[in-house]
Assembly symmetry: C2
């Protein structure tokens, strides 16, 4: 999917909601456990329930891997199911991968190359620590995106991301240097950055470095970030935001009405987003 | 496996060789392609051929993921096969994972919790960018290890790992700060660090920060690092090194003799290691 298509979907759906599919067997409604593939049955229902309000889905790969071969199979079925909605959905593998070049090439095949792995994601989240040649293999795939970690929403972001580094241009936080350096590896048409919603006040300085790029923003809802603050400091003329919600939607109910409750939660977020999009003249 | 047991294996086998299982369908001998699971057949033969000379095996998870469900199945069979050799083999998932706490917990289950995922690795490689709470869930599993990226062997290590950061104690390279900070999260009994062999000259300053920890050293062989330099600057009183070789062993021959040739290559490395262990009085 191109940036133009993504922006068109945002305008049409009046939403920049990404639904995180962090599906856990221990949290899904008990009545699903009798089915052959409870994780897939759950995801299918969540997708159907939220498709009107979401422009992106983001399976969190850890939750599938943790179930071994069975989990990987559930992920494959989920991705296949999303084929029904392919033109209206930006599909992100939240995998936080990154390794030396020939290994990153394999990870890129995993998530981008359907003939090879079975998957056809639009984007993968990638960790920056190993530098340029750990990221560029993901950018070598036509029409695919890298979403690079910049500033994350967790407490541990303080350990390294907020360290002051000295550059020829002056002092920077490490995450600012990551943005400045890595934006040269791609373009706003094939790179996005992860910026946690709990760091909303930092979005102003981030937007000075990457005014045009899309930002993937986790941490609204369960992690405590504010949608309004994220928009205030992070929105740009093409929206430029994908805001993720996972647990607040997936586990809105643990009963048979989980689909309806997930839909209601997604709709609530969509209406908030619609108001913001209007406020800032995007729609 | 405890550190004591690992050191005992090193002394007994007179080797600190880790064989990296970066198995690629396009590189394995053609006659294997007719079998039901060529990747597993290849790995089985490589393991049998090198077991006398290796104290560790390190499947590179990217190469299995890239084949989707089939690859994940080959990995499972490879790990099951290594059960035959369990007491003499330290088993590393080279996965470069790391995410917020509840997601890292899932990755830890993936690789450590056999009842959950089918896997029972001794260690996982983890990326440091997201900080403490992205790493500690891996340390919560009894007798399991984290191998944290510190200084990698690729060109992109220069982008961020060699950036100068300012700390209250003075200037540091980022990778030095990663070592200083993260060593407090665990102990030499449950943490190791990745240090690329192409950075051998940095091992002296690394050893000042982490004198006791084991270091996992990739980059000898295909990537051009020198075993003798790694030992000179990196060895400690309990060896403290696991040196990885992948392509030079796996693809020593593309013919039916690939097992014998892999064994010969592993033996060559083992004999070099044995000489070093004697030189430094470890055996």
């Amino acid at each position: 999917m191109t940036r133009k298509e993504l922006v068109a979907n945002i305008r049409r759906k009046k939403s920049f909601l990404c639904v995180g599919l962090d599906t856990e067997l221990s949290k899904i409604p008990k009545h699903l456990l009798a089915s052959d593939d409870p994780v897939f049955e759950f995801n299918k229902k969540i997708i159907d329930a939220t498709i009107d309000y979401a422009v992106a889905y983001k399976p969190n790969i850890a939750f599938y891997e943790a179930m071994g071969v069975a989990g990987w199979t559930s992920l494959q079925k989920t991705v296949n199911y999303l084929e029904h909605y392919r033109s209206e959905v930006f599909l992100i593998a939240d995998a936080k991968r990154g390794d030396i070049g020939n290994t990153s090439s394999q990870y890129a095949k995993t998530f981008y190359d359907k003939t090879y792995s079975g998957f056809d994601f639009n984007a993968v989240t990638v960790a920056p620590y190993m530098g340029e040649d750990s990221v560029t293999p993901f950018l070598a795939h036509k029409d695919k995106w890298v979403i690079l970690l910049a500033l994350t929403s967790n407490k541990g972001a303080c350990n390294f991301q907020f360290q002051k580094v000295m550059t020829p241009e002056g002092e920077r936080y490490l995450f600012e240097l990551v943005l400045e350096t890595s934006k040269k590896w791609g373009t706003p048409n094939n790179m996005m950055f992860v910026v946690g919603a709990t760091q909303a006040e930092m979005l102003q300085s981030i937007r000075k470095i990457v005014p045009e790029h899309f930002l993937l923003v986790p941490g609204v809802g369960a992690q405590g970030g504010s949608l309004q603050d994220v928009v205030k400091y992070g929105i740009n003329t093409q929206c430029g935001l994908l805001v993720n919600a996972s647990r607040s939607i997936l586990y809105a109910s643990a009963e048979k009405d989980f689909g309806e409750m997930a839909r209601a939660e997604a709709k609530k977020l969509k209406l908030e987003m619609e108001a913001e999009l209007k406020l800032y003249g995007i729609i």
